[in-house]
Amino acid sequence: MSFLELNGVCKRFGDHVAVEDINLSVTKGEFISLLGPSGCGKTTTLQMIAGFVDPSAGAICLNGRDLGSVKPSKRGLGIVFQSYALFPHMTAAENIAFGLEMRGVPRAERELRVRDALVMVGLDGYADRHPRRMSGGQQQRVALARALVIKPDVLLLDEPLSNLDAKLREDMQIELRQIQRSIGTTTVLVTHDQTEAMALSDRIVVMSKGRIEQIGTPHETYEKPASAFVSQFLGKTNEFPGEVDRHAASPRLVAGSCHWPAPAGVTGPVTVTVRPEKVGFGGETHNGLKARITNRIFQGNHWLFQCETECGPAIVVRQNTGEAQPTEGENVRLVWRAEDMGVRPRGAGR
Protein backbone atom coordinates (compact mmCIF):
# COMPACT_ATOMS: atom_id res chain seq x y z
CA MET A 1 0.00 0.00 0.00
CA SER A 2 2.11 2.87 -1.16
CA PHE A 3 0.95 6.38 -0.45
CA LEU A 4 3.60 8.42 -2.21
CA GLU A 5 5.15 6.82 -5.23
CA LEU A 6 7.99 7.88 -7.52
CA ASN A 7 8.20 5.89 -10.74
CA GLY A 8 11.30 6.21 -12.93
CA VAL A 9 11.70 9.87 -12.05
CA CYS A 10 14.55 11.65 -13.85
CA LYS A 11 15.72 15.22 -13.95
CA ARG A 12 18.20 16.61 -16.43
CA PHE A 13 19.48 20.16 -16.52
CA GLY A 14 20.91 20.40 -20.04
CA ASP A 15 23.60 17.71 -20.18
CA HIS A 16 23.77 17.34 -16.44
CA VAL A 17 21.76 14.50 -15.00
CA ALA A 18 20.68 15.56 -11.51
CA VAL A 19 18.39 12.66 -10.76
CA GLU A 20 18.28 9.39 -12.64
CA ASP A 21 15.57 6.79 -12.54
CA ILE A 22 14.34 7.13 -8.98
CA ASN A 23 11.84 4.48 -7.92
CA LEU A 24 10.50 4.82 -4.44
CA SER A 25 7.30 4.02 -2.66
CA VAL A 26 6.47 5.46 0.71
CA THR A 27 3.69 4.05 2.85
CA LYS A 28 1.27 6.20 4.80
CA GLY A 29 2.68 7.51 8.04
CA GLU A 30 6.22 6.49 7.19
CA PHE A 31 9.23 8.66 7.94
CA ILE A 32 11.70 8.34 5.11
CA SER A 33 15.04 10.08 4.60
CA LEU A 34 16.83 10.92 1.40
CA LEU A 35 20.44 10.77 2.49
CA GLY A 36 23.50 11.63 0.45
CA PRO A 37 26.34 14.08 -0.04
CA SER A 38 25.64 17.46 -1.61
CA GLY A 39 24.93 17.22 -5.31
CA CYS A 40 23.50 13.70 -5.08
CA GLY A 41 20.08 14.84 -6.27
CA LYS A 42 18.21 14.54 -2.99
CA THR A 43 17.03 18.16 -2.90
CA THR A 44 16.05 18.03 -6.56
CA THR A 45 13.99 14.93 -5.78
CA LEU A 46 12.26 16.75 -2.93
CA GLN A 47 11.58 19.77 -5.15
CA MET A 48 10.02 17.49 -7.75
CA ILE A 49 7.69 16.06 -5.12
CA ALA A 50 6.86 19.61 -4.04
CA GLY A 51 6.31 20.64 -7.65
CA PHE A 52 8.92 23.38 -7.90
CA VAL A 53 10.93 21.33 -10.37
CA ASP A 54 9.31 19.39 -13.19
CA PRO A 55 10.65 15.88 -13.74
CA SER A 56 12.19 15.26 -17.16
CA ALA A 57 10.70 11.79 -17.11
CA GLY A 58 8.73 9.55 -14.80
CA ALA A 59 5.70 10.11 -12.62
CA ILE A 60 5.01 11.05 -9.04
CA CYS A 61 1.77 9.79 -7.52
CA LEU A 62 0.24 10.76 -4.24
CA ASN A 63 -2.57 8.63 -2.89
CA GLY A 64 -3.17 7.21 -6.35
CA ARG A 65 -3.33 10.61 -8.01
CA ASP A 66 -0.71 11.64 -10.58
CA LEU A 67 0.82 14.93 -9.41
CA GLY A 68 2.23 15.78 -12.85
CA SER A 69 -0.43 18.33 -13.69
CA VAL A 70 -1.08 19.54 -10.16
CA LYS A 71 0.33 22.98 -9.36
CA PRO A 72 2.59 23.26 -6.29
CA SER A 73 -0.01 25.41 -4.58
CA LYS A 74 -2.63 22.66 -4.98
CA ARG A 75 -0.55 19.69 -3.85
CA GLY A 76 -1.34 20.16 -0.19
CA LEU A 77 2.15 19.40 1.03
CA GLY A 78 3.86 20.96 4.02
CA ILE A 79 7.45 22.03 3.49
CA VAL A 80 10.10 23.11 5.96
CA PHE A 81 13.10 24.74 4.35
CA GLN A 82 16.71 24.85 5.48
CA SER A 83 16.49 28.64 5.83
CA TYR A 84 13.08 28.22 7.59
CA ALA A 85 11.66 30.65 5.00
CA LEU A 86 9.33 32.31 7.47
CA PHE A 87 7.52 35.43 6.34
CA PRO A 88 9.62 38.08 8.11
CA HIS A 89 6.87 40.69 8.04
CA MET A 90 4.38 38.49 9.87
CA THR A 91 4.24 37.33 13.47
CA ALA A 92 4.59 33.67 14.39
CA ALA A 93 0.81 33.31 14.55
CA GLU A 94 0.31 35.07 11.21
CA ASN A 95 2.94 32.83 9.66
CA ILE A 96 1.17 29.73 10.88
CA ALA A 97 -2.26 31.06 9.92
CA PHE A 98 -1.19 31.80 6.33
CA GLY A 99 -1.89 28.34 4.96
CA LEU A 100 -5.26 28.19 6.73
CA GLU A 101 -6.19 31.58 5.30
CA MET A 102 -5.36 30.33 1.81
CA ARG A 103 -7.73 27.44 2.43
CA GLY A 104 -10.50 29.76 3.53
CA VAL A 105 -10.67 28.43 7.08
CA PRO A 106 -12.94 30.75 9.10
CA ARG A 107 -11.21 33.06 11.56
CA ALA A 108 -12.41 31.42 14.76
CA GLU A 109 -11.29 27.96 13.73
CA ARG A 110 -8.08 29.42 12.36
CA GLU A 111 -7.17 30.97 15.68
CA LEU A 112 -7.91 27.74 17.47
CA ARG A 113 -5.76 25.67 15.15
CA VAL A 114 -2.91 28.20 15.25
CA ARG A 115 -2.95 28.06 19.03
CA ASP A 116 -2.92 24.26 19.00
CA ALA A 117 -0.03 24.28 16.54
CA LEU A 118 1.97 26.65 18.72
CA VAL A 119 1.36 24.44 21.73
CA MET A 120 2.37 21.37 19.74
CA VAL A 121 5.80 22.83 18.96
CA GLY A 122 6.15 24.26 22.47
CA LEU A 123 5.84 27.92 21.54
CA ASP A 124 2.66 29.03 23.27
CA GLY A 125 3.20 32.61 24.31
CA TYR A 126 5.21 33.42 21.22
CA ALA A 127 2.24 34.07 18.95
CA ASP A 128 2.92 37.78 18.48
CA ARG A 129 6.68 37.56 18.02
CA HIS A 130 8.25 38.40 14.71
CA PRO A 131 10.66 35.78 13.36
CA ARG A 132 13.70 38.04 13.60
CA ARG A 133 13.14 38.27 17.34
CA MET A 134 13.24 34.50 17.73
CA SER A 135 16.18 32.13 17.96
CA GLY A 136 17.03 29.67 15.21
CA GLY A 137 15.40 26.82 17.07
CA GLN A 138 12.23 28.80 17.68
CA GLN A 139 12.03 29.85 14.03
CA GLN A 140 12.46 26.20 13.15
CA ARG A 141 9.48 25.31 15.32
CA VAL A 142 7.33 28.01 13.76
CA ALA A 143 8.25 26.71 10.31
CA LEU A 144 7.29 23.20 11.40
CA ALA A 145 4.00 24.39 12.89
CA ARG A 146 3.25 26.37 9.73
CA ALA A 147 3.80 23.28 7.59
CA LEU A 148 1.81 20.95 9.84
CA VAL A 149 -1.16 23.15 10.64
CA ILE A 150 -2.61 22.64 7.15
CA LYS A 151 -2.68 18.87 7.86
CA PRO A 152 -0.57 18.08 4.82
CA ASP A 153 -0.68 14.69 3.10
CA VAL A 154 3.09 14.66 3.13
CA LEU A 155 5.56 16.69 5.15
CA LEU A 156 8.72 17.57 3.25
CA LEU A 157 11.77 18.56 5.29
CA ASP A 158 14.70 20.08 3.40
CA GLU A 159 17.76 19.90 5.70
CA PRO A 160 15.64 21.45 8.45
CA LEU A 161 18.14 21.05 11.26
CA SER A 162 21.42 21.85 9.57
CA ASN A 163 21.41 25.50 10.65
CA LEU A 164 21.10 24.63 14.34
CA ASP A 165 24.00 24.00 16.69
CA ALA A 166 24.79 20.43 17.67
CA LYS A 167 23.05 20.35 21.05
CA LEU A 168 19.86 21.95 19.78
CA ARG A 169 19.90 19.71 16.74
CA GLU A 170 19.79 16.60 18.91
CA ASP A 171 16.89 17.97 20.94
CA MET A 172 15.00 18.94 17.80
CA GLN A 173 15.59 15.49 16.29
CA ILE A 174 13.90 13.85 19.23
CA GLU A 175 11.09 16.37 19.23
CA LEU A 176 10.57 16.13 15.49
CA ARG A 177 10.33 12.38 15.75
CA GLN A 178 7.82 12.61 18.60
CA ILE A 179 5.63 15.09 16.77
CA GLN A 180 5.74 13.05 13.59
CA ARG A 181 4.87 9.85 15.48
CA SER A 182 2.01 11.46 17.35
CA ILE A 183 0.26 12.94 14.31
CA GLY A 184 1.38 10.25 11.88
CA THR A 185 2.13 12.48 8.91
CA THR A 186 4.00 10.82 6.08
CA THR A 187 7.36 12.56 6.06
CA VAL A 188 10.22 12.87 3.60
CA LEU A 189 13.43 14.28 5.03
CA VAL A 190 16.37 15.44 2.95
CA THR A 191 19.67 15.42 4.80
CA HIS A 192 23.37 14.90 4.39
CA ASP A 193 23.74 14.02 8.07
CA GLN A 194 23.73 10.25 8.53
CA THR A 195 23.15 10.36 12.28
CA GLU A 196 20.10 12.56 11.72
CA ALA A 197 18.76 10.18 9.09
CA MET A 198 19.30 7.20 11.37
CA ALA A 199 17.78 8.85 14.41
CA LEU A 200 14.62 9.91 12.63
CA SER A 201 13.77 7.55 9.83
CA ASP A 202 11.80 4.38 9.40
CA ARG A 203 13.69 3.87 6.18
CA ILE A 204 16.69 5.56 4.61
CA VAL A 205 17.20 6.12 0.91
CA VAL A 206 20.93 6.49 0.33
CA MET A 207 21.62 8.47 -2.83
CA SER A 208 24.75 9.16 -4.79
CA LYS A 209 25.22 10.92 -8.11
CA GLY A 210 21.50 11.09 -8.81
CA ARG A 211 20.89 7.40 -8.19
CA ILE A 212 19.55 5.36 -5.30
CA GLU A 213 22.29 3.24 -3.77
CA GLN A 214 20.19 1.50 -1.18
CA ILE A 215 16.80 1.65 0.48
CA GLY A 216 16.46 0.11 3.89
CA THR A 217 15.89 0.58 7.58
CA PRO A 218 18.68 2.47 9.38
CA HIS A 219 19.85 -0.84 10.82
CA GLU A 220 19.95 -2.58 7.46
CA THR A 221 21.77 0.19 5.67
CA TYR A 222 24.37 0.36 8.41
CA GLU A 223 24.88 -3.33 8.99
CA LYS A 224 24.35 -4.57 5.47
CA PRO A 225 25.46 -1.76 3.16
CA ALA A 226 24.64 -2.60 -0.43
CA SER A 227 27.67 -0.86 -1.85
CA ALA A 228 31.06 0.52 -0.92
CA PHE A 229 29.57 3.99 -1.13
CA VAL A 230 26.89 3.20 1.45
CA SER A 231 29.31 1.60 3.88
CA GLN A 232 31.65 4.58 3.67
CA PHE A 233 28.95 7.19 3.81
CA LEU A 234 27.12 5.70 6.77
CA GLY A 235 29.62 5.82 9.58
CA LYS A 236 33.26 4.85 9.45
CA THR A 237 34.49 1.57 8.12
CA ASN A 238 37.80 -0.28 7.89
CA GLU A 239 38.81 -1.81 4.60
CA PHE A 240 41.53 -4.38 4.05
CA PRO A 241 42.66 -6.10 0.88
CA GLY A 242 42.13 -9.88 0.99
CA GLU A 243 42.01 -12.91 -1.21
CA VAL A 244 39.58 -15.81 -1.46
CA ASP A 245 41.60 -18.89 -2.11
CA ARG A 246 39.53 -21.79 -3.41
CA HIS A 247 42.54 -23.94 -4.31
CA ALA A 248 43.53 -24.73 -0.75
CA ALA A 249 42.41 -27.88 1.02
CA SER A 250 39.42 -26.02 2.41
CA PRO A 251 38.48 -22.79 0.59
CA ARG A 252 39.43 -19.83 2.72
CA LEU A 253 39.58 -16.07 2.88
CA VAL A 254 43.00 -14.68 3.62
CA ALA A 255 43.86 -11.17 4.76
CA GLY A 256 47.37 -10.57 6.04
CA SER A 257 48.26 -13.29 8.48
CA CYS A 258 44.73 -14.39 9.28
CA HIS A 259 42.18 -16.47 7.52
CA TRP A 260 38.54 -17.44 7.70
CA PRO A 261 36.40 -19.99 5.90
CA ALA A 262 35.66 -18.64 2.43
CA PRO A 263 32.32 -16.90 2.10
CA ALA A 264 30.06 -18.04 -0.70
CA GLY A 265 29.80 -16.20 -3.98
CA VAL A 266 33.15 -14.45 -4.21
CA THR A 267 36.54 -15.56 -5.40
CA GLY A 268 39.88 -13.95 -6.15
CA PRO A 269 40.94 -10.57 -4.78
CA VAL A 270 38.43 -9.06 -2.37
CA THR A 271 37.98 -6.14 -0.02
CA VAL A 272 37.23 -6.99 3.58
CA THR A 273 35.22 -4.39 5.51
CA VAL A 274 34.55 -4.19 9.21
CA ARG A 275 33.11 -1.41 11.37
CA PRO A 276 35.52 0.11 13.93
CA GLU A 277 33.27 -0.72 16.89
CA LYS A 278 33.13 -4.41 15.90
CA VAL A 279 36.88 -4.78 16.20
CA GLY A 280 38.43 -5.99 19.42
CA PHE A 281 41.95 -6.58 20.68
CA GLY A 282 43.24 -10.13 20.96
CA GLY A 283 46.39 -11.81 22.11
CA GLU A 284 49.22 -13.19 19.99
CA THR A 285 47.52 -16.54 19.60
CA HIS A 286 44.30 -15.13 18.21
CA ASN A 287 43.34 -15.23 14.56
CA GLY A 288 43.71 -11.46 14.00
CA LEU A 289 45.49 -8.83 11.99
CA LYS A 290 48.88 -7.84 13.35
CA ALA A 291 48.75 -4.20 14.27
CA ARG A 292 50.54 -1.51 16.22
CA ILE A 293 48.64 1.29 17.93
CA THR A 294 49.87 4.64 16.66
CA ASN A 295 47.37 6.87 18.43
CA ARG A 296 45.04 6.49 21.32
CA ILE A 297 42.39 9.18 21.71
CA PHE A 298 40.06 9.44 24.67
CA GLN A 299 36.61 10.72 23.72
CA GLY A 300 34.69 10.44 26.95
CA ASN A 301 32.35 7.53 26.48
CA HIS A 302 34.70 5.74 24.14
CA TRP A 303 38.30 5.30 23.09
CA LEU A 304 39.43 5.80 19.50
CA PHE A 305 42.51 3.86 18.41
CA GLN A 306 44.38 4.53 15.20
CA CYS A 307 46.36 1.48 14.21
CA GLU A 308 48.87 0.54 11.55
CA THR A 309 48.10 -3.04 10.54
CA GLU A 310 49.90 -5.38 8.24
CA CYS A 311 47.17 -4.59 5.68
CA GLY A 312 47.11 -0.81 6.03
CA PRO A 313 45.67 1.70 8.48
CA ALA A 314 42.64 0.94 10.61
CA ILE A 315 40.61 2.51 13.36
CA VAL A 316 39.14 0.80 16.38
CA VAL A 317 36.47 2.17 18.70
CA ARG A 318 36.09 0.69 22.18
CA GLN A 319 33.49 1.61 24.74
CA ASN A 320 34.95 3.21 27.83
CA THR A 321 33.88 0.42 30.18
CA GLY A 322 36.66 1.11 32.67
CA GLU A 323 38.71 -1.89 31.57
CA ALA A 324 42.39 -1.39 30.82
CA GLN A 325 43.03 -0.49 27.21
CA PRO A 326 46.18 -1.02 25.14
CA THR A 327 48.55 1.93 25.04
CA GLU A 328 50.18 3.76 22.19
CA GLY A 329 52.97 1.81 20.52
CA GLU A 330 51.68 -1.53 21.78
CA ASN A 331 51.54 -4.47 19.39
CA VAL A 332 48.12 -6.09 19.26
CA ARG A 333 45.99 -8.33 17.14
CA LEU A 334 42.77 -6.95 15.71
CA VAL A 335 40.03 -9.53 15.93
CA TRP A 336 36.39 -9.61 14.91
CA ARG A 337 33.64 -12.13 14.41
CA ALA A 338 33.32 -13.50 10.90
CA GLU A 339 29.68 -12.44 10.71
CA ASP A 340 30.59 -8.81 11.41
CA MET A 341 32.78 -8.76 8.35
CA GLY A 342 31.75 -7.70 4.85
CA VAL A 343 33.44 -9.16 1.79
CA ARG A 344 33.10 -7.83 -1.74
CA PRO A 345 35.14 -8.41 -4.92
CA ARG A 346 37.92 -5.83 -5.10
CA GLY A 347 37.27 -2.91 -7.42
CA ALA A 348 33.52 -3.45 -7.25
CA GLY A 349 31.12 -0.97 -5.76
CA ARG A 350 32.77 2.39 -6.28
Binding site: S73, A85, P88, F98, M102, H130
Partner: protein, 268 residues
Protein backbone atom coordinates in the same frame (compact mmCIF):
# COMPACT_ATOMS: atom_id res chain seq x y z
CA UNK B 1 31.97 52.56 16.11
CA UNK B 2 35.62 53.36 15.67
CA UNK B 3 36.80 56.65 17.06
CA UNK B 4 37.98 59.15 14.43
CA UNK B 5 41.54 60.43 14.58
CA UNK B 6 42.08 64.19 14.76
CA UNK B 7 43.15 64.35 11.11
CA UNK B 8 40.04 62.50 10.03
CA UNK B 9 37.95 64.78 12.21
CA UNK B 10 39.39 67.87 10.52
CA UNK B 11 38.83 66.36 7.11
CA UNK B 12 35.21 65.51 7.89
CA UNK B 13 34.58 68.97 9.30
CA UNK B 14 36.00 70.66 6.20
CA UNK B 15 34.05 68.27 4.01
CA UNK B 16 30.74 68.97 5.75
CA UNK B 17 31.38 72.72 5.65
CA UNK B 18 32.15 72.46 1.96
CA UNK B 19 28.90 70.59 1.34
CA UNK B 20 26.65 72.73 3.49
CA UNK B 21 28.15 76.18 2.84
CA UNK B 22 26.31 76.91 -0.44
CA UNK B 23 22.99 75.98 1.16
CA UNK B 24 23.70 78.18 4.17
CA UNK B 25 24.72 81.07 1.94
CA UNK B 26 21.57 80.76 -0.15
CA UNK B 27 19.41 80.66 2.97
CA UNK B 28 21.17 83.72 4.44
CA UNK B 29 20.89 85.72 1.23
CA UNK B 30 17.17 84.95 1.18
CA UNK B 31 16.78 87.16 4.25
CA UNK B 32 18.52 90.19 2.79
CA UNK B 33 16.60 93.48 2.83
CA UNK B 34 18.54 94.71 -0.21
CA UNK B 35 17.40 94.52 -3.82
CA UNK B 36 20.48 92.65 -4.97
CA UNK B 37 22.26 89.40 -4.02
CA UNK B 38 24.01 90.12 -0.74
CA UNK B 39 24.41 88.71 2.74
CA UNK B 40 22.08 90.47 5.14
CA UNK B 41 24.26 93.02 6.98
CA UNK B 42 21.59 95.54 8.01
CA UNK B 43 19.27 93.13 9.76
CA UNK B 44 16.98 90.40 8.42
CA UNK B 45 14.00 90.93 6.19
CA UNK B 46 11.23 88.69 4.93
CA UNK B 47 10.81 90.99 1.96
CA UNK B 48 11.83 88.38 -0.63
CA UNK B 49 9.59 85.71 0.87
CA UNK B 50 6.64 88.08 0.55
CA UNK B 51 7.65 88.75 -3.03
CA UNK B 52 7.10 85.07 -3.89
CA UNK B 53 3.39 85.73 -3.52
CA UNK B 54 3.61 88.25 -6.35
CA UNK B 55 4.87 85.55 -8.68
CA UNK B 56 2.15 82.91 -8.78
CA UNK B 57 4.05 81.15 -11.58
CA UNK B 58 6.61 80.05 -8.99
CA UNK B 59 3.94 78.53 -6.81
CA UNK B 60 2.30 76.98 -9.83
CA UNK B 61 5.68 75.59 -10.94
CA UNK B 62 6.19 74.09 -7.49
CA UNK B 63 2.92 72.18 -7.76
CA UNK B 64 3.76 71.07 -11.28
CA UNK B 65 7.11 69.78 -10.03
CA UNK B 66 5.46 67.98 -7.17
CA UNK B 67 2.90 66.37 -9.43
CA UNK B 68 5.36 65.39 -12.12
CA UNK B 69 7.71 63.97 -9.51
CA UNK B 70 5.05 62.01 -7.66
CA UNK B 71 3.21 60.67 -10.69
CA UNK B 72 6.26 59.89 -12.83
CA UNK B 73 7.97 58.00 -10.03
CA UNK B 74 4.84 55.97 -9.33
CA UNK B 75 4.41 55.13 -13.02
CA UNK B 76 8.09 54.24 -13.25
CA UNK B 77 7.65 51.83 -10.33
CA UNK B 78 4.60 50.22 -11.90
CA UNK B 79 6.96 49.10 -14.65
CA UNK B 80 10.09 48.72 -12.54
CA UNK B 81 8.68 46.19 -10.06
CA UNK B 82 7.63 43.57 -12.63
CA UNK B 83 10.78 44.26 -14.65
CA UNK B 84 12.98 43.86 -11.59
CA UNK B 85 11.27 40.61 -10.58
CA UNK B 86 11.66 39.22 -14.09
CA UNK B 87 15.31 40.22 -14.36
CA UNK B 88 16.22 39.12 -10.85
CA UNK B 89 14.90 35.60 -11.01
CA UNK B 90 14.48 34.41 -14.57
CA UNK B 91 17.00 33.49 -17.20
CA UNK B 92 15.54 34.37 -20.56
CA UNK B 93 16.74 35.36 -23.98
CA UNK B 94 17.42 39.09 -24.15
CA UNK B 95 17.59 39.49 -20.37
CA UNK B 96 20.87 41.39 -20.47
CA UNK B 97 19.71 43.51 -23.39
CA UNK B 98 16.50 44.38 -21.57
CA UNK B 99 18.37 45.32 -18.45
CA UNK B 100 20.77 47.52 -20.44
CA UNK B 101 17.84 49.17 -22.23
CA UNK B 102 16.13 49.98 -18.96
CA UNK B 103 19.26 51.57 -17.56
CA UNK B 104 20.19 53.38 -20.78
CA UNK B 105 18.62 56.74 -19.83
CA UNK B 106 21.49 57.00 -17.33
CA UNK B 107 24.04 56.88 -20.10
CA UNK B 108 22.55 59.55 -22.35
CA UNK B 109 23.21 63.20 -21.45
CA UNK B 110 20.00 64.95 -20.50
CA UNK B 111 20.61 67.67 -23.10
CA UNK B 112 20.54 65.02 -25.78
CA UNK B 113 17.41 63.48 -24.26
CA UNK B 114 15.79 66.89 -24.13
CA UNK B 115 16.39 67.58 -27.81
CA UNK B 116 15.31 64.06 -28.79
CA UNK B 117 12.08 64.32 -26.77
CA UNK B 118 11.38 67.80 -28.16
CA UNK B 119 11.67 66.48 -31.69
CA UNK B 120 9.65 63.35 -30.90
CA UNK B 121 6.84 65.21 -29.16
CA UNK B 122 6.67 67.87 -31.86
CA UNK B 123 6.29 65.14 -34.48
CA UNK B 124 3.62 63.36 -32.50
CA UNK B 125 1.78 66.54 -31.59
CA UNK B 126 2.26 66.10 -27.87
CA UNK B 127 4.67 68.98 -27.57
CA UNK B 128 3.99 71.31 -24.66
CA UNK B 129 1.57 69.02 -22.87
CA UNK B 130 1.67 67.72 -19.33
CA UNK B 131 1.60 64.18 -20.70
CA UNK B 132 4.74 64.80 -22.73
CA UNK B 133 6.55 66.12 -19.68
CA UNK B 134 5.32 63.17 -17.66
CA UNK B 135 6.45 60.57 -20.22
CA UNK B 136 9.92 62.10 -20.43
CA UNK B 137 10.25 62.13 -16.65
CA UNK B 138 9.06 58.54 -16.33
CA UNK B 139 11.81 57.49 -18.71
CA UNK B 140 14.50 59.53 -16.98
CA UNK B 141 13.68 58.30 -13.47
CA UNK B 142 13.04 54.69 -14.48
CA UNK B 143 16.65 53.51 -13.99
CA UNK B 144 16.65 54.80 -10.42
CA UNK B 145 13.38 53.07 -9.60
CA UNK B 146 14.63 49.88 -11.24
CA UNK B 147 18.05 49.72 -9.62
CA UNK B 148 16.80 49.78 -6.04
CA UNK B 149 13.87 47.48 -6.71
CA UNK B 150 16.23 45.10 -8.48
CA UNK B 151 18.60 45.08 -5.52
CA UNK B 152 15.74 44.19 -3.20
CA UNK B 153 14.37 41.50 -5.53
CA UNK B 154 17.79 39.93 -6.03
CA UNK B 155 18.50 39.75 -2.31
CA UNK B 156 15.23 38.01 -1.53
CA UNK B 157 15.18 34.43 -0.27
CA UNK B 158 13.26 32.48 -2.90
CA UNK B 159 12.33 29.73 -0.49
CA UNK B 160 10.05 32.19 1.32
CA UNK B 161 7.98 32.39 -1.84
CA UNK B 162 8.12 28.64 -2.29
CA UNK B 163 6.81 28.27 1.25
CA UNK B 164 3.89 30.57 0.45
CA UNK B 165 3.11 28.62 -2.72
CA UNK B 166 3.26 25.31 -0.91
CA UNK B 167 0.77 26.68 1.60
CA UNK B 168 -1.65 27.34 -1.25
CA UNK B 169 -1.03 30.93 -2.34
CA UNK B 170 -1.83 31.74 -5.97
CA UNK B 171 0.37 34.15 -7.93
CA UNK B 172 -1.54 37.29 -7.05
CA UNK B 173 -1.79 36.45 -3.35
CA UNK B 174 1.87 35.52 -3.37
CA UNK B 175 2.78 38.91 -4.80
CA UNK B 176 0.47 40.92 -2.58
CA UNK B 177 1.04 39.11 0.71
CA UNK B 178 4.66 38.02 0.45
CA UNK B 179 6.76 39.31 -2.44
CA UNK B 180 5.72 42.96 -2.33
CA UNK B 181 6.03 43.33 1.45
CA UNK B 182 9.49 41.79 1.25
CA UNK B 183 10.77 44.09 -1.47
CA UNK B 184 8.84 47.10 -0.15
CA UNK B 185 11.86 48.84 1.39
CA UNK B 186 13.60 48.72 -1.99
CA UNK B 187 10.45 49.92 -3.73
CA UNK B 188 10.01 52.85 -1.35
CA UNK B 189 13.68 53.80 -1.69
CA UNK B 190 13.36 53.56 -5.45
CA UNK B 191 10.33 55.79 -5.34
CA UNK B 192 12.07 58.39 -3.19
CA UNK B 193 15.14 58.45 -5.40
CA UNK B 194 13.04 58.66 -8.54
CA UNK B 195 11.01 61.50 -7.07
CA UNK B 196 14.12 63.47 -6.12
CA UNK B 197 15.57 62.86 -9.57
CA UNK B 198 12.43 64.16 -11.23
CA UNK B 199 12.09 67.13 -8.90
CA UNK B 200 15.70 68.09 -9.58
CA UNK B 201 15.68 67.64 -13.34
CA UNK B 202 16.26 70.83 -15.33
CA UNK B 203 18.54 70.17 -18.31
CA UNK B 204 16.05 68.07 -20.19
CA UNK B 205 12.85 69.63 -18.88
CA UNK B 206 13.91 73.06 -20.09
CA UNK B 207 13.37 71.81 -23.65
CA UNK B 208 9.94 70.40 -22.96
CA UNK B 209 8.37 72.89 -20.60
CA UNK B 210 5.72 75.23 -21.90
CA UNK B 211 4.02 78.17 -20.18
CA UNK B 212 1.79 76.80 -17.43
CA UNK B 213 3.58 73.46 -17.19
CA UNK B 214 7.01 74.59 -16.13
CA UNK B 215 8.64 72.74 -13.27
CA UNK B 216 10.16 74.75 -10.45
CA UNK B 217 13.80 74.34 -11.48
CA UNK B 218 12.92 75.42 -15.00
CA UNK B 219 11.01 78.44 -13.76
CA UNK B 220 13.95 79.47 -11.60
CA UNK B 221 16.37 78.86 -14.41
CA UNK B 222 14.37 81.08 -16.74
CA UNK B 223 14.00 83.73 -14.04
CA UNK B 224 17.70 84.10 -13.35
CA UNK B 225 18.34 84.52 -17.05
CA UNK B 226 16.56 87.87 -16.89
CA UNK B 227 16.85 88.99 -13.27
CA UNK B 228 19.50 89.11 -10.63
CA UNK B 229 17.65 89.55 -7.38
CA UNK B 230 17.31 87.51 -4.18
CA UNK B 231 13.92 86.07 -5.18
CA UNK B 232 15.46 82.76 -6.30
CA UNK B 233 17.24 82.47 -2.98
CA UNK B 234 14.02 82.86 -1.02
CA UNK B 235 12.33 80.32 -3.28
CA UNK B 236 15.28 77.96 -2.76
CA UNK B 237 15.15 78.49 1.00
CA UNK B 238 11.44 77.66 0.98
CA UNK B 239 12.05 74.46 -0.95
CA UNK B 240 14.81 73.49 1.47
CA UNK B 241 12.49 74.01 4.43
CA UNK B 242 9.70 72.02 2.79
CA UNK B 243 12.13 69.20 1.98
CA UNK B 244 13.39 69.12 5.53
CA UNK B 245 9.86 68.99 6.89
CA UNK B 246 9.06 66.15 4.53
CA UNK B 247 12.15 64.23 5.62
CA UNK B 248 11.36 64.72 9.29
CA UNK B 249 7.83 63.43 8.73
CA UNK B 250 9.16 60.51 6.72
CA UNK B 251 11.62 59.67 9.46
CA UNK B 252 8.89 59.84 12.10
CA UNK B 253 6.46 57.59 10.31
CA UNK B 254 8.62 55.25 8.26
CA UNK B 255 12.29 55.62 9.16
CA UNK B 256 14.70 57.50 6.97
CA UNK B 257 17.33 54.80 7.04
CA UNK B 258 14.98 52.34 5.45
CA UNK B 259 14.16 54.75 2.65
CA UNK B 260 17.74 55.68 1.88
CA UNK B 261 19.44 52.36 2.46
CA UNK B 262 16.58 50.07 1.47
CA UNK B 263 16.86 48.08 4.68
CA UNK B 264 14.52 45.14 4.83
CA UNK B 265 14.40 45.06 8.58
CA UNK B 266 11.01 46.36 9.46
CA UNK B 267 11.25 48.05 12.80
CA UNK B 268 7.83 48.01 14.30
Amino acid sequence: MSRNGSLALIFHTVFVIFMVAPIVVVCLVAFTPEGYLSLPTNGFSLRWFRTIADYPEFINAFWVSLWIGAVSSVIALLFAVPAALAIARHQFRGREALSALFLSPLMIPHVVLGIAFLRFFTQTGLSGTFVALLISHVIVVFPFALRLTLAAATGMDRSVEMAAVSLGANSWTLFRRVTLPLILPGVVSGWALAFIQSFDEVTMTVFLAAPGIETLPVRMFLYIQDNIDPLVTSVSASVIVITMLALILLDRFYGLERVLAGHSDRGR
